[in-house]
């Protein structure tokens, strides 16, 4: 029985849930901060993109492991 593909699929789904929740929370606080002080929106946007790329990097670590599992 090939459970490897099931493991890879469930793993990829869980990783994406984690990344999506993290970046969603980040975007929510970025919107709040921009609403409070629209002059700082440039700095907030830059920091938001950096933090989003870092969180996405972690979620892609998990994805790479799932791809390696599925391809073996």
């Amino acid at each position: 029985m090939e459970y490897v593909f099931l493991g890879a699929g469930i793993g990829a789904g869980l990783t994406v849930i984690g990344g999506g929740l993290g970046i969603g929370k980040l975007a929510a606080s970025a919107m709040d901060a921009t609403g409070r002080q629209p002059e700082a929106s440039g700095d907030i946007r830059t920091s938001m993109i950096i933090a989003a790329a870092l969180i996405e990097g972690i979620s892609l670590f998990g994805l790479v492991i799932c791809i390696l599992l599925a391809l073996k």
Binding site: I49, A53, L60, L63
Partner: protein, 280 residues
Amino acid sequence: MILESVKAVTDTLSKVADKHGGSGWIMHHVLDSRELGLEPFGVIHLPQLHLFGLDISITKHIIFMWLAAIIVLLIFSVVARSYKKSLVPKGFTNFWEILIVFVRDEIAKPTIGEGYQKFLPFLLSTFFFILTMNFLGLLPYGNTATSNIAITSTLAVFSFIVIQGSGMKKNGVFGYFKGLVPHGIPIVFLPVLFIVEILGLFTKPFALAVRLFANMTAGHIIIFSLIGLIFVLQTYFVAPVSIAFALFIDLLEILVALIQAYIFTILTSLFIGMAVHQDH
């Protein structure tokens, strides 16, 4: 040990690329291969070279990496020559000055602080090289050289060398390691914190390499999967939906190409800033 794990990743991926049919079609386009495929016109077989038992044959990703290097060299030699004529740019140079000033003012100056001019050539080269490699993958018959873990690992190794070298040159070898742990903590925590900081020195460039590789590869796999849906479902009616989604993801890929080049450069300059000004 690192070489073995990189080799394990590339071996697994190359084993999959050999089977055509099913997921092999997608992997065949995304992964490295020894032939340049110009689909309706035939394939160009690239030469295989062996040196002292190591396989250094020229593959598809290497050809596109050289192409990106040649493009960056040509563009920026024209830009540099036009700066000799007049400091006020016009036309072609003006466009590249926007990006160069962006790298200097948004990436180098805030993160490194004073003394940022020494690192500007390295940061600019990294940014434009990665940007060109990412964009070449979005053209027809193009291929993303950065979706190869070996190429991104090499870029991360260069970043590692620049970070440690600049930190050690500024603070001295022993002073650099001493400055890794903050002052004013109890002696009990010192060994643990020291080990954690040393590990952090290695995981940060590793994360840079994997982030760039995974972002580029995942984006292209999504595009190929969406277009491959037409062949899997074997009907023409799925084609408008599939092409529309693939177009949207392609536009997203342009954004991701820009953002990933920006993130690699800004994280490298952040680590350089942390290494050079250790007490910030």
